[in-house]
Symmetry: D2
Subunit: 309 residues, 4 copies
Amino acid sequence: MNACLRAATRKAITSGKKVVGIRRGYQGMIEGDFVPMDNSSVSNIIQNGGTILKSARSDQFRTPEGRQLAADNLRAQGIDGLVAIGGDGTLAGAAIFFEEHKIPLVGCPGTIDNDLFGTDETIGFDTALNTAIENIDKIRDTADAHDRLFLVEVMGRDAGFIALNSGIGGGAEMVLIPETLTDIKKIKSHIHSLMSQQHRSSIVVVAEGDELGGATQIASELRQDDTFANIDLRVCILGHTQRGGSPTARDRVLASRLGVAAVEALIDGHANVMVGLIDNQIRLTPSRNVYSRKKSINFELLGLTTLLN
Amino acid sequence: MNACLRAATRKAITSGKKVVGIRRGYQGMIEGDFVPMDNSSVSNIIQNGGTILKSARSDQFRTPEGRQLAADNLRAQGIDGLVAIGGDGTLAGAAIFFEEHKIPLVGCPGTIDNDLFGTDETIGFDTALNTAIENIDKIRDTADAHDRLFLVEVMGRDAGFIALNSGIGGGAEMVLIPETLTDIKKIKSHIHSLMSQQHRSSIVVVAEGDELGGATQIASELRQDDTFANIDLRVCILGHTQRGGSPTARDRVLASRLGVAAVEALIDGHANVMVGLIDNQIRLTPSRNVYSRKKSINFELLGLTTLLN
Amino acid sequence: MNACLRAATRKAITSGKKVVGIRRGYQGMIEGDFVPMDNSSVSNIIQNGGTILKSARSDQFRTPEGRQLAADNLRAQGIDGLVAIGGDGTLAGAAIFFEEHKIPLVGCPGTIDNDLFGTDETIGFDTALNTAIENIDKIRDTADAHDRLFLVEVMGRDAGFIALNSGIGGGAEMVLIPETLTDIKKIKSHIHSLMSQQHRSSIVVVAEGDELGGATQIASELRQDDTFANIDLRVCILGHTQRGGSPTARDRVLASRLGVAAVEALIDGHANVMVGLIDNQIRLTPSRNVYSRKKSINFELLGLTTLLN
Amino acid sequence: MNACLRAATRKAITSGKKVVGIRRGYQGMIEGDFVPMDNSSVSNIIQNGGTILKSARSDQFRTPEGRQLAADNLRAQGIDGLVAIGGDGTLAGAAIFFEEHKIPLVGCPGTIDNDLFGTDETIGFDTALNTAIENIDKIRDTADAHDRLFLVEVMGRDAGFIALNSGIGGGAEMVLIPETLTDIKKIKSHIHSLMSQQHRSSIVVVAEGDELGGATQIASELRQDDTFANIDLRVCILGHTQRGGSPTARDRVLASRLGVAAVEALIDGHANVMVGLIDNQIRLTPSRNVYSRKKSINFELLGLTTLLN
């Protein structure tokens, strides 16, 4: 996110605009938590995880009164255009806010889950994916040394992008995602065939939002089955380690491009859109479409997970 | 472990010995799972986590009959000296085995927990510690961006070495370890004072073996307290990601030194001892002492955890 | 490359084919350095850098006699289709070989430089890029602490892909690449303006193939200028550290997809083509086009390098 | 260094002292570049490489007039005790300064080269060592894939600590350091025996300060020898990538301990000493001894480099 912030700030300054940072998102708009930004405010931050402007949930912004307060504060500051970085919730808030108060707003897709329509990839996804794979590599060392079965849960409440890609990249034997139906019987028989033949160790990557439940729940189902009594089964939930960390090259370049594009879109008079990258081209998508439509996973990749294990 | 294996193998070959690898530890001794080793068997493995010889628990080795079988297999192979890498359990097994069968055995301290008497540091500890800290760094990015309290659970069933060192190195606000009494009231008031003043985010590192329970249990105690209702509290259990991974410089050098020293000790006629590094010198400690005595944590370090948050 | 090898091997076996590995590339074909491959030959290698089949240059393969020998060996082994992973030279060799001997061959784009027509990204590029950025991050720590100017040379004899992307991602103040004319006067004045104003430290990323020469040559030109007498100027050549290393998520997934696609193309009767990924779709390109056409850099990215410093 | 700064600052504040940061070292003392420090000045910096107070060489501080100016500035600020972090030069400056102006000063050993008497390990050494090893691992992937000989130059102008430890940890076939005489004839014959037998690839780690010269010079000597005509020989100079980067666990804990100890030493009335860690105990050494005596390398480790290749 810092790379996006840096790019948007510098592009805006170069274009002759004044830049104000809003700390803590929509809540900061309501509380008037503003901070003036210049070129040096965003120096030496491109390599850092997190965000220098912090983040917060805002219940107040869900109310018309909260949004009115936010709009009043922005107008008092002379702010006549907004760049917002975030996921579904951020974009949904943006759309309502624009409809009520007509302050132009351009969104940048920022979520590790990659589940936003209107962009092939979201800011943060590549970093989270690499963190997941590094952890799966480490877990494989143990799985392999001890002939164990590991269920590794990665993030993805509504989408299997991290699970699918980290499963392929981590060489997992199986991947369970919300987009496909998980048949526990098939899973059991597949694990048995894996553990008996060539593999004596296996890794199953589970998206936290799989419709069967997360790794803990699936593990308890397996453990209730007598045929799993002799299998040394472990659960590892990667959790918040997937957020944060120094961003990858790809994330930094993506975030820089989108940050610049967001400011350009504002200058060009767009409002209530999200910038995204589709087939390596900058594209604008109406905010409403971003959170009302669903980006589908790549079925070629899905095929690889069964083909390559 | 691979670095230790490599060093022991090459030292033994240079000393004119034949080397046989035993796969899957004591269980492999019982099953006769032997593999001849030469210089090239251990080429290009120093950078890899896990162990090329694999690892296994062995219930059979806990019985006199199992150990008899193991001894018979070793003698049939002409094996007249053993190097064993492992923790408490490995060393305890070694001591009984030597008393019964008189096959000389030298142990190398291999456990990420660092809880072995007879060495300042165990093989694997430095790598696990760095993995823990990298994860804590990532979690801090989120904690800081969202003003959250994180309870991070690290390994250490009986000992707080990883928790203590990763807490100091990760800049944690508090560290809970089995070696000290954890007073939940004091913890609560300390967290409150931290979250209200300068810090709006905090990280508490919890050793899995803390006498209050792991991070999940402590979190549920905190959540039952009304005064924590407004604190955004999260749990992250680092788990098996702390094992595995390419070893650090320090672990590779330590493992190389101890692997060589173990073979030297065997050649010098020692049996039933563990090699260790104390004050940067190779030292031998009788196996019995290793698992019967407890290595104490460094109280200077303990003081730092409260001083520096 | 290992991920690609693994995918191609497993896809071919699943499709009922026998798989033979050729060690050391075209030279191995000439020397008959073949090794049978099964599913387990490629187990647990997806995370490793380098290639288990090794690599070699082959002067003999540049001669008709060498290629005849290679073809004879392949036929003797019953090999009726080839998958070759490599860059320009590999693909050029493949085209001649096919024209002379009609053994179907499908290429996979494997080079860190990303300078192959017919694919948006080559296998190895994303990993090299991330290594470059990690190193630039480290160098920035020193540049910043000491107010220094660093010239960092990255790989790219004919192409600026690594330089351009690592420059943007590393937050470099300037990027010098072969695709654009480097005007030393403009560079000097730009550096002076940077070092005098807000920045007291600067990083210039130089592609090794810049038409002005690499970092060493540019540094010596700058040092001859009296106005650079007070600037603490250092050169760092990242060199071979950019090759090797555990591949990134993106590289593993890309390599897996292309390995499978290469085998599919062979089975579908294609010969003398390269598989690539264009706009996230698998595409086939005639081998001749791959090395006769030039992939152009992204000018939007080029604009970012001046906009964001 | 940031971890040390953080620890010293917080310890001093807890002890009831006021803390002033001096930017850019001795030069900053002369220019009066002071900045007030509180607990939050050093928040969230323990994970960052470099130093928030920056660093600079100072020619002026080598003159009595420069030091007089520095002393006057300190007295004007009411500064009555100094903590200085650095290597040989810093400690030598400290000793003269104390003798002339009697302002108590305690040094902390901060140099990646580890060549300071009075401490087993210096702040920065473990991080640099791990960076060197990660790079050697990457280079080995290429060396191994292509059957090449690599000369890898690591830092160490006067001392071979990084070379020796990274050579053992990186599994190098040979290590050349300033502390031992390098016989080019023996090197040649050793390389030949390595490249002909089991190894077809080799890595030689060279300390930049080896008395035969750095890697470039040694490579040119080898290349002049006809018997090296068929060996694919490459040079890689790790250079400034060894500085900077997020510090390792060990470095952070060491720096924290020494930062606290330095402030304790000042409070206890010590002046003109360096704090160090010897056999895991905090020790004070008179500044003069630090730079007049030489710390010797560990000859057990030196033996390992020949034993284990």
